[in-house]
Symmetry: C2
Subunit: 151 residues, 2 copies
């Protein structure tokens, strides 16, 4: 039960892009360095983020990747789900999965509650906030979890 | 980011055992039917639960698996971690993993908060409660999440 490396890198890319001036365009190699992710692995991540409409890919000499302005405040959840698909803590939480234990299995409800608790945290945090927090940290030093703007 | 099938089956086994009278001893094939899990796959799960001390394996003609009395009220978290090891929502939450972004990466704190929220739910629910809830449901019909004893 762990985030994929791809989703982790996607979040790193998004935070990097959200920390740049609007309309900044960044090459794949710059993103690879910023996310500390091998370029080849990052290609697939960038493809998924582009497909989800979170970033825009421009071709040509002045090409590169931009953060779609509308998605500057995408939530951490949106970014993770763009890579991994909807978060389902257990197979039985898939709406299209039929489980013969449905209707009496008490664990099902606890998986649902645990998933909700986690998803609420990820959904309440935007990439824009994380980028601002990263900037602040670089200027003033580390923040604690209590000091984060969404607490 | 999904529970392994092995952990899901381990929880099913533990709920089944916790619903039986104390000292009841159950064969692997009964557990396989109760957990709706192929016997061969279940062997590994039972091995891990035994190794973690959550169940006891008895050999011989009257052999089988028992729930260790002390672990009748093991939490859902303990059972999951007996199979998967400590829950770490992201690699950077491993205490022995050193991340070059530590100290400024704001996402780290959100992964930690999301993990805490999920772990709290799983840690607050015992197998014993789930077994009682399963019994009640079979007698009275499905319960809603609000009716669960730990809500």
């Amino acid at each position: 039960m762990q985030l994929t490396r791809a989703a982790d890198y996607a979040v790193r890319v998004m935070i990097h892009l959200a920390g740049l001036p609007p309309d900044a365009r960044v090459s794949r190699s710059e993103l690879s360095a910023a996310a500390e992710c091998p370029e080849q692995f990052l290609s697939k991540v960038l493809q998924n983020l582009t497909r989800a409409g979170l970033i825009v890919s421009r071709r040509g000499n002045t090409g590169g990747f931009e953060l779609d302005a509308r998605h500057r405040d995408a939530s951490l959840l949106e970014v993770v789900e763009a890579i991994e698909g909807p978060i389902r803590l257990n197979l039985c939480l898939n709406s299209d999965h039929s489980c013969s234990r449905q209707g009496w299995c008490p664990a099902h409800l606890v998986w649902a509650k645990a998933q909700k608790a986690m998803v609420e945290v990820l959904g309440a945090t935007t990439i824009g906030e994380l980028a601002r927090s990263a900037d602040d940290t670089r200027q003033k030093g580390p923040v604690t979890i209590e000091e984060l703007p969404w607490n």
